[in-house]
């Protein structure tokens, strides 16, 4: 059992849980994730570790409540617990040793971006973070990222920082030159848009993928993606990949596989279930 030590509402639908997981807190590295299984009948969900405190034996998980399972996780209060957490899984982020990195985060992906920016900063890499959300309230990890370097905030409605998409700011910074690598984490359309900007310029771009996953140890193959002409399993080969090789169209499509089920599950949780 993993006790919830603290809970923070980051935005209307995004919650940060600091959860007891001493071993994982001690050894996790940027980019790694855990599989969370809240209770007996819950799904197994992959969540990237947003932060960790080896001293407190805690890891931070950032959850966007989009369906029944994530909704239940996000509703957990301090003192309650998560049954099972396995990890840290996946390969750590490939961090450059020097130079200038653009760290691009969208929505809840900004939570995943945070440890990457942290890792880069600790190595002495110059970090420019560009983060965004629909509204000011949807922007998360702003103070944390501001401590690690330059920060540009973009909102669709201009409620905070610049008005517009993160890609607008990315385009400008790329045009200014001197960018050695781009790390992009967020909704698939955002990562795809960033890759479309960097590819013609040949700027290396790492994306962090979050497909459907069950065991997280390579056993099921549900998280497979096409990378160039080859199949890769995100859980054991990733979760981060060269964005220029990822087949985003297929990834976007595979992420819709269970949409009908998710609606049904949600309806059931809200007491409208006619099945059962």
């Amino acid at each position: 059992m993993h006790e919830i030590l603290a809970r923070q509402q980051l935005s209307p639908d995004v919650v940060r849980l600091d959860v007891q997981a001493a071993r994982i807190a001690q050894i996790r590295r940027p980019g790694q994730f855990v599989i969370v299984h809240q209770a007996e009948n819950s799904e197994r969900i992959p969540l990237t570790i947003a932060d960790a405190s080896p001293d407190c034996g805690a890891i931070a998980l950032v959850i966007k409540a989009v369906g029944k399972s994530t909704g239940e996780l996000a509703a957990l209060q301090p003192g309650q617990a998560i049954n099972d957490i396995a990890g840290p899984l996946g390969h750590p982020t490939e961090l450059i040793k020097r130079g200038h990195a653009l760290c691009v985060g969208g929505g809840v992906g900004t939570a995943v971006l945070h440890p990457i920016a942290q890792g880069l900063h600790h190595r002495g890499v110059r970090v420019t973070s560009i983060i965004g959300g629909r509204t000011r309230a949807a922007v998360i990890f702003e103070p944390e990222l501001r401590r690690l370097g330059d920060l540009i905030v973009c909102t669709d409605d201009g409620g905070s920082g610049r008005k517009g998409f993160v890609t607008d700011a990315v385009r400008e910074l790329l045009a200014a030159g001197g960018v050695d690598i781009v790390y992009a984490v967020g909704p698939v359309p955002m990562m795809r848009a960033v890759v479309n900007l960097t590819q013609p310029l040949g700027v290396r771009t790492i994306v962090s993928l979050n497909p459907v996953m069950i065991d997280g140890t390579g056993m099921c193959g549900g998280c497979r993606i096409s990378l160039g002409n080859e199949t890769r399993f995100v859980c054991v080969d990733g979760p981060e990949f060269d964005g220029h090789l990822v087949n985003f169209e297929e990834l976007t499509d595979r992420l819709t596989t269970y949409h009908d089920f998710e609606r049904q599950s949600q309806a059931c949780a809200e007491g409208q279930c006619r099945l059962g």
Binding site: S42, E43, A86, D215, R254
Partner: protein, 514 residues
């Protein structure tokens, strides 16, 4: 040697000392004494009662219902008590088969259970899932002129009886003396559980690390409820825990801890982390929505209980027409699961013929009873999809058997121009697995073969002292019982190894968990 084993290896009295009785049928009255050889030979193999095939269509309830006591006693008397029991040699864990069957025939069920458990940690499991027809029962003398003794069904009967009649807990202090040696086992599947049982019995302090949230390995994620109820696995696991074995779930060796870290904390390690990455067909369309690996399909249903969705949270696509590619037990499990999930058509596509199907005979038989269609001599070349990228069919080629290949089996070769499409909405790929690199990648000194499987010597020891391995990480894809055999062999070798190497200076005190 277990002295009890030899005590029970007795033979029946001479036939001329026994009262003559009429040959017995299922309805016969209880025996007044052991039957004569002639009488034994006249008893026909007792059929396993099973759910009606119609009743199985929408139910994951176990298909085989098990023998009644009366039937078990009749079947037990079919055993001729051979002086040189070939069946025992046919068993990968060497169960004293004539011994437990004799005790069963005598009505001494407690004795039969004790004897069986001494050789086999998971008899309720193997009695259900072993391919008896190629092992013990293949060697049975009764099979020469007729049907072999139903050893698997008797094993199941005795172990189910034992579960319903648990032995009283051992009195404190009567368990094995603690050796103070700590051993780790990676993976709580059949190999790991078997090794754990034997090592705990020898007094070692055993910790099993399991990557998933529930112990059992393939017994919980792979083999469906209708073949192996999960309650049985849970009971066997609990029995091990009561014997002092510690099971720590959600620990992925290679990630949470590395193998070198385990070596520092434990005097010996047994790696039994199982099969790994699923093999896909490498044909176009394989990443369309509706294509599953058998591992994913079965894990969703078995471990995550997706058949109970939305009562439980994990979904699975319920195809109307499901095609499963492959001919092994995993393929049978998948196709029969599809049927139970409501598929109107559930079909096996296999590139050789019925004679080459690697699955257990009983699974094929049950599948046929359940209306599973078999397309033999058929190989997939592509998965077809619609504009929304959902599966619409499996494009196949007809095959014919050509010259034998290296394995001695005739190689299937495509018949030119024979392409056709099997319409379907779900495709399950059950053509095997390759080794999982998660653990081995953290210990480069560990010697692997060209397929990434751990290389072991005849005792199950890997290339590093104190590191043993068994089950699918060594064999590639194999069976539950072979994995269990590896576990037993490794436990023996680990025990010998622990006696050879000095104990750590500070012995671990108070480790007697019995």
């Amino acid at each position: 040697m277990n002295p009890e084993t030899t005590n029970h290896e007795k033979t029946y009295p001479m036939p001329n000392l026994i009262m003559n009785r009429a040959p017995r049928s299922e309805a016969a009255p209880p025996p007044s004494g052991p039957p004569t050889m002639k009488q034994r030979l006249q008893i026909t193999r007792q059929p396993m009662p099973a759910l009606e095939s119609e009743a199985r269509a929408a139910s994951f309830a176990e298909v085989n219902l098990g023998f009644t006591e009366a039937v078990a006693l009749i079947e037990a008397e079919r055993c001729l008590q051979c002086r040189d029991p070939r069946c025992v040699r046919g068993c990968p864990v060497g169960v004293n088969i004539p011994g437990f069957i004799t005790l069963l025939a005598e009505g001494n069920l407690a004795g039969a259970a004790k004897l069986l458990l001494a050789d086999n940690t998971l008899p309720a499991v193997t009695g259900r899932v072993c391919p008896q027809e190629t092992q013990c029962e293949a060697a049975c003398v009764r099979g020469v002129k007729g049907q072999p003794v139903a050893i698997g069904h008797l094993e199941r009967y005795v172990s189910d009886w034992a579960r319903a009649h648990p032995a009283p807990p051992a009195a404190p202090g009567t368990g094995p003396a603690a050796t103070g040696r700590k051993v780790a086992i990676v993976g709580a599947g059949p190999a790991g559980l078997s090794a754990a049982a034997d090592l705990a019995q020898l007094g070692h302090d055993v910790t099993i690390y399991e990557a998933l949230h529930k112990p059992g390995g393939v017994l919980v994620y792979g083999i469906p409820e209708f073949r192996l109820p999960k309650m049985i696995v849970a009971r066997e696991v609990r029995r091990l825990q009561e014997a002092g074995v510690k099971i720590v779930c959600n620990v992925v060796i290679g990630r949470t801890y590395t193998l070198p870290e385990l070596r520092e904390k434990f005097s010996a390690v047994f790696i039994a982390n199982g099969a790994g990455l699923p093999v896909f067909m490498n044909v176009p369309g394989e990443n369309l929505k509706g294509v599953y690996s058998a591992n994913e399909y079965l894990t969703r249903i078995n471990l995550m209980t997706a058949h109970q969705f939305p009562r439980t949270d994990t979904p699975v696509l319920r195809g109307k027409r499901v095609v499963v590619v492959g001919g092994g037990n995993v393929a049978m499990d998948a196709v029969r699961s599809a049927r139970r999930l409501g598929a109107q058509s559930a079909m096996i596509v296999y590139r050789r013929t019925r004679a080459e199907l690697p699955a257990r005979a009983e699974e094929v038989h049950h599948a046929e009873q359940e209306g599973i269609r078999f397309e033999f001599l058929t190989a997939p070349v592509a998965v077809t999809g619609n504009a929304q990228r959902w599966v619409t069919g499996l494009q196949c080629l007809r095959m014919e058997l050509g010259e034998p290949d290296a394995s001695g089996r005739r190689r299937p070769v495509p018949r030119p121009g024979s392409e056709f499409i099997l319409p379907c909405d779900v495709v399950v790929v059950a053509i095997g697995t390759r080794s999982n690199p998660l653990l081995t990648a953290t210990c480069p000194e560990l010697k692997l073969n060209q397929y990434g499987n751990i290389v072991v010597d005849e005792h199950g020891m890997a290339s590093l002292p104190g590191i043993f391995a068994g089950g699918d990480i060594v064999r590639g894809a194999a069976t539950v019982i072979l994995a269990m055999g590896d576990g037993k062999r490794a436990a023996r070798a680990m025990n010998e190894y622990l006696q050879r190497v000095p104990a750590p200076s500070a012995a671990v005190p108070g480790q007697n968990h019995s």
